[in-house]
């Protein structure tokens, strides 16, 4: 090796060392800045509490409740609520509020040991119904709009079938109705042994186990090596962008433990091979769910690249609620609600609610 070759090699090594150090400095900057810590971005007041549930009412810039048609957001009870109120300027709920609606969000909170006994009836005909009653009482409107996200959409659909007289319009976002469509979280959980969850003797399914199902959706990218590589590449991004990534990570990676009875019931009713929503045989407690009662305007949105709720399983709503408006948007399960392209969805929802 000639001296000039050696010098070139040392130059390349020095450049590599400098790049690595710059990334670590950026990482240090991000890790020492304040994180998201799971709060919604928009000022809100707690207007109802029950067990771990908090019903939030978004406030305007003067700290006052907004005036307008009421909208209740129902997120999935197995994840944090703040994905729909993520950041100032990037908040789905904030966008709807700014369009002239009185917005409420159901935050189901973090289940603890006794909540393993929560079943569908507890959520649908208990918590969600009392949220609707509270919204109705505060807004003075006998009927309200409901927007359900993911499993929250399932709760909203079941609620609307049981109490159609209280729902003006229903929006379902990435809500699987056809459990036989292969792929997605239901299938992964099925393959990972969710069939073993007991309804009669449930456990609180640990957050790490729930997280492992989501990781199995794309095992390569979600392996430790895959994630570390991804983070290392992202450390070239500007700090503002990394703070966004951190906020999203705080939602994606901060999964909640799940009530075993709820999971057992979801699996037994809607899981692969059961599929009682499509068959019209779903029940809540001892009542049959009659989807023909869902006569209010309904919009269902699927995401093209959704690995959690496969779009075909979402769009199947058209088969059981024929008048539903079914839309498929580009993006993934989280991206369409809170990603950079999310405003497209928000605007569609505003237009639907204002129609």
């Amino acid at each position: 090796m000639s001296p000039s070759d050696r010098e070139r090699e040392l130059e390349a090594l020095l450049a590599l060392s400098q790049r690595g150090r710059a990334k670590l400095e950026r990482l240090h900057e991000i890790l020492t800045s304040s994180g998201h810590y799971g709060r919604g971005a928009t000022p809100a007041a707690v207007v109802y509490r029950e067990n771990k549930l908090r019903l939030l009412r978004l406030l305007d810039e003067n700290g006052q409740p907004r005036v307008g048609p009421p909208v209740l957001f129902v997120p999935a009870p197995v994840s944090r609520y703040f994905i729909i109120d993520l950041l100032p300027g990037r908040s789905f709920a904030g966008h709807i509020a700014a369009a002239g609606f009185d917005v409420y969000i159901a935050d189901f909170g973090e289940p603890t040991s006794e909540d393993r006994f929560c079943d569908l009836a507890y959520y649908v005909d208990g918590l969600v119904r009392r949220c609707v009653r509270t919204v109705s009482a505060l807004s003075g409107e006998p009927k309200i709009n409901i927007v359900g996200y993911c499993l929250g959409g399932t709760l909203a659909l079941l609620y609307s079938a049981l109490h159609p007289e209280s729902v003006t319009r229903l929006v379902l976002l990435t809500t699987t109705v056809d459990g036989d469509v292969e792929g997605g979280i239901a299938w992964v959980a099925h393959k990972m042994g969710l069939a073993g969850e007991s309804y009669d003797n449930p456990r609180l399914v640990p957050a790490a186990e729930v997280k492992s199902w989501f990781e199995m959706l794309s095992p390569g990218a979600n392996s430790v090596i895959g994630r570390v590589n991804d983070l290392w590449d992202r450390l070239d991004d500007p700090p503002e962008r990394l703070r966004d990534v951190r906020t999203m990570a705080t939602w994606v990676d901060d999964v909640l433990p799940a009530p075993g009875r709820l999971l057992a019931e979801l699996y037994q009713q809607f899981g692969p091979g059961r599929n009682k929503l499509m068959a019209g045989t779903a029940t809540i407690g001892d009542q049959r769910v009659d989807l023909s009662a869902v006569t209010m305007p309904v919009m269902s949105v699927s995401a093209e690249k959704d690995t959690i709720a496969p779009p075909d399983g979402v769009d199947a709503l058209k088969k059981i609620v024929p008048h539903a408006q079914v839309i498929r948007l580009p993006g993934g399960h989280v991206g369409i609600v809170a990603g950079r392209s999310a405003p497209a969805l928000w605007q569609r929802v505003v237009e639907f609610l204002q129609a």
Partner: protein, 141 residues
Amino acid sequence: MAEARDDNEPALVERWLQDQQHWQKTLLAYLDSMVKNEDFLVHVGNAMRGSLLAGKPYPTAPPPGTPVTETAADARLDQLLFALHQIQGQLNDLSMTVAEMRNGRASSPAPQASQSRRADRAKRSVAPAAAVKNRKRKGRG
């Protein structure tokens, strides 16, 4: 052909030395944050798993073979607590209905299952825990 070198640019060896000094500063900054901020170690641990999750450790499963410590009494206590949550919900329903009547509005939407059936169900789920309590009392007496 070799690139023309700026006369003001430090020699390669000097730049290596500068880089080493920067590395020392970077590592000292990490050490300083570890000492000053308890959360920082958690955040570094998360980053080593490829996650920027803030405020808590990345969820990991306990090592295989970790014993489950729950006893039958814990399960019954949880059942009792859950039954209390259900009763709390029914009481909230009741107070909402009273408020609606006071305001002259029709009560809506009422629970689909009848109140008595719900109360029965709540009683049933409380019953085993209550029975255990009674048995214990008898045993002591």
